[in-house]
Amino acid sequence: MAQTGTTPQTRKTAPEAVGRTSVRDVLARALRGNVRQYGMLVALALIVVLFQIWTDGILLQPLNVTNLIQQNSYILILAIGMMIVIIAGHIDLSVGSLAAFTGAAAAVMMVRHHLPWPVALVACLLIGAAAGAWQGFWISYVGIPSFIVTLAGMLVFRGGTQIMLQGQSIAPFPRGFQKIGSGFLPEVGPHTNYHNLTLLLGAAVLAVALLQEVRGRRQAASYGLELLPTGLFLAKLAAVSAAVVVFTLLLASYHGFPIVLLILAVLLFGFGYLMRNSIIGRHTYAIGGNEAAAKLSGVKSKRVVFLAFVTMGVLAALAGLVFAARLNAGTPQAGINFELEAIAAAFIGGASASGGVGTVLGAIIGGLVLGVLNNGMSLVGIGTDYQQVIKGLVLLAAVGFDVYNKRKAGS
């Protein structure tokens, strides 16, 4: 029956005057839309400043920054995939085990069978894709909840790892492979006090970023869309430039640009662009937001979910390879609790438990919050016992803050 009439509406959305927009309007709107992500960016900055002071400046020393990146790289890689899976409205508990499995497979191929490392690397990524396809099949086409399928996967891949390694670690890897986890870009040119290639790379990144911003603004103008006020736009450019310059100098004054950071950057921009600008990315959001409505709009939801799990499988394999390369061994204990760290990173970074919300950049921010907390707390001598308690509370607070905000917005 439909007697109840109109839907109750808590807040009237009044039409605002469009045309001239003040800086305050734009900021307020941006904040309203992405409270969680902006909030977490601010929180990340605060945590960095806090530990920078607390550790007497050790946190942002070039050596430590490089360590921080390399230590957290595999969690960040997993967090990107996990974010995609969560946006689609699912979860993947198997990624830690799968990372261990591919790391072990890499060790067996390279160390025992002396396969060339690039061949083994590609083979391992294919194993990851196959594992993702296996899970995606049960979830998408058979309809078993992802929690169950990936819980099973967690056990299967962990067991598979132990069978493959017979309980032992296998080492060492070829030097070329090790570099994926702990290597740096080679040095070129004359001797300066800085790493030259890193400086060049930094300059290139800065140029591309600024160019993109300006081009996007020009395009938006040609489409007759509302633009960010000029002052704010320039402030944004300045902030981006400052971040790139500081970060580049930090890296360049140590060993230079970590190879794994290059991988991460490619993944961040690649998947960020895919999720934001591609049809399949958009379909992923639509399925997580309202699967029934997406289906009635012609979205092939089974295929999209399947592909999300294949992607997650490949990224889990990559994370496993990076971890193995950094450790320089394939071990049965690899990847334990990685899935939980990745899930926490995604939720801290703005994912919604019901799906349909989140960004790849958010996953990275969430992962960095956890990473800086880990690193900073270790530096000031807080034990891992307390670290876990604090990280747990941060996760709860981040999501709780979001829930509170949504309720206040009355939606």
Partner: protein, 515 residues
């Protein structure tokens, strides 16, 4: 007989912006079966929610007397303690618990929290015998058909020592045999002194079991009539139900009707779970270019199910029938195939099936035709935003920006977003399911203008609506459906609310008599 068991006096209930009930009176005599009739949206369910405490005392005006005593129910439990039990159309049973557990759910035979299975099973057995259900009390409810589940609900009501039983469309989901049994049970319970309020669209049912009938229309009591051998005729009830005011202004149009754009032939769909029930049964219809065609029918007539099934088999299990677009048979087995052949379906349930409430206006509008704002799989967000801005202006969508989450919009604006989405997909045929449900008068008029405009552009438009004046004001031709079958086709010039209502309340039984 003694005095009335129930008196509801001058009940008025308002929701923000809507007056759902105004000054409604209802008197149920002791031990009678009292039917309540009215169109969708007449206020029947709201009245029953007031009675059962779903809308608690204080949220409405007027008073309720049960067996002469004033009642102020705070919630359903309070009304159930007095012996007033409501059985909703969507049954409220837990599928994986046994019959016995369901019968005593919330009302367990227990001591200090520990359930006594002996008393539960013996008492359940007695109650099941009273309702004529011969399954073992430990049978899982999921293993029972809908008809038997209905009996479990009644047993559950008996366990609460019901004195006034309210049944909301109890036979809507039942087949003829189960319906007949249920009606007999109602008469048996009446013989045991249990009064019953029966909400039903099926006039032949009312004629069979009811002693009197109260007719509601637009939230008001129209009249209470005696039923029975020398009581009122079905026509008399229909005359009371219809006759809502033509309160809206409909756009003037001079239809230019062209070729047949969409034809559906002999379309049959089974219920998704209950394969013995045809929810849509051999329906054939067509719509021409530039024509607005209505489908009238009451709840459960199968209109939405027909539309969704044609649109990519999105409902139930298809068992037969063809779809022809521009005279050629086409495959519409998936939604994308249906969209590809120029069909669009605008759902009646915009929140569940129409919108991604967590996403903004622009992304909702583009979702049905992302290809139009992208190249080689990559979306041009600027183009997408520009499209959204265009619709925000042309459809008068009131929102701070095209990035505003659709969950934050009012019902009328949400509906405009859903419409924009499907207009942007540029279909040849639009199926609009309850396009103005739950939206305010102003937005309704705007949507009528949009529909007229679509027809003027040569689109074929099929409108499903529960508001007869809306169909009469908007459509060139109107089909009627009842119980999954097409029961009539009327030209606008010949259609009146009475004639449509008569066709909408035809049931299988009376149809057979006429043959």
């Amino acid at each position: 007989m003694a005095g009335p068991v129930l008196e509801m006096r001058a009940i008025t209930k308002t929701f923000p912006g809507v007056r759902a009930l105004s000054d409604v009176n209802l008197t149920v005599a002791a031990g009678e079966v009292h039917a309540i009739c009215g169109e969708n949206g007449a206020g029947k369910s709201t009245l029953m929610k007031v009675l059962s405490g779903v809308h608690p005392h204080g949220s409405y005006e007027g008073e309720i007397l049960f067996k002469g005593e004033p009642c102020r129910f705070r919630d359903i439990r309070a009304s159930e303690r007095r012996g007033i039990v409501i059985i909703h159309q969507e049954l409220a049973l837990v599928p994986y618990l046994s019959i016995a557990e369901n019968v005593f759910l919330g009302n367990e035979h227990a001591r200090r929290g520990i359930i006594s299975w002996h008393r539960t099973l013996t008492h359940a057995g007695e109650l099941l015998r009273r309702v004529g259900l011969h399954d073992h009390p430990l049978t899982r409810v999921a293993d029972l058909g809908v008809g038997k589940q209905q009996l479990v609900e009644i047993a559950k009501a008996l366990a609460k020592e019901v004195e006034l039983l309210i049944l909301d469309e109890p036979t809507a989901a039942l087949n003829d045999e189960d319906s007949r049994k249920l009606l007999e049970l109602i008469l048996e319970l009446k013989a045991q002194g249990i009064a019953c309020i029966l909400i039903s669209h099926k006039l032949n049912e009312i004629a069979r079991v009811a002693d009197s009938v109260t007719i509601l229309r637009d939230g008001r009591t129209i009249e209470t009539l005696a039923v029975g051998p020398e009581g009122v005729s079905e026509d008399r009830i229909i005359r009371g139900m219809v006759g809502r005011d033509l309160e809206h202004r409909y756009p003037e149009r001079t239809p230019e009707v062209g070729e047949v754009a969409l034809a559906v032939e002999d379309w049959t769909v089974q219920h998704p779970i209950d394969h013995h029930r045809n929810v849509v049964d051999g329906v054939s219809l067509h719509v021409r270019r530039g024509e607005i065609v209505g489908i009238a029918g009451l709840m459960g007539a199968g209109r939405t199910e027909l539309a969704m099934s044609v649109f990519g088999r999105s409902y139930g299990r298809w068992t037969g029938g063809r779809v022809l677009v521009n005279g050629r048979e086409v495959r519409t087995r998936t939604v994308s195939e249906a969209i590809g052949h120029g069909l669009a379906y605008v759902t009646e349930d915009r929140k569940q099936l129409g919108l991604n409430l967590a996403d903004g206006i622009s992304r909702n509008i583009s979702l049905g035709a992302l290809g139009k704002v992208s190249r080689r799989g990559w979306i041009n967000e600027h183009e997408e935003t520009r499209v959204a801005e265009r619709y925000r202006a042309s459809m008068n969508i009131k929102a701070p920006s095209v990035f505003t989450e659709t969950g934050k919009l009012s019902g009328g604006n949400q509906q405009k977003v859903v419409l924009s989405k499907w207009i942007f997909a540029e279909p040849e045929v639009l199926i609009l399911d309850e396009p103005t449900r739950g939206i305010d008068v102003g937005a309704k008029a705007e949507i009528y203008a949009v529909i007229a405009d679509l027809a003027a552009q040569g689109k074929a438009v099929l409108v499903i609506s529960s508001e007869l004046p809306e169909l009469l004001g908007l459509c060139d031709r109107i089909y009627t459906m009842a119980e999954g079958r097409l029961t009539g086709e009327v030209q606008r010039a010949d259609a009146t609310q009475e004639s449509l209502m008569r066709l909408m309340t035809v049931s299988a039984a009376t149809q057979n008599e006429q043959v």
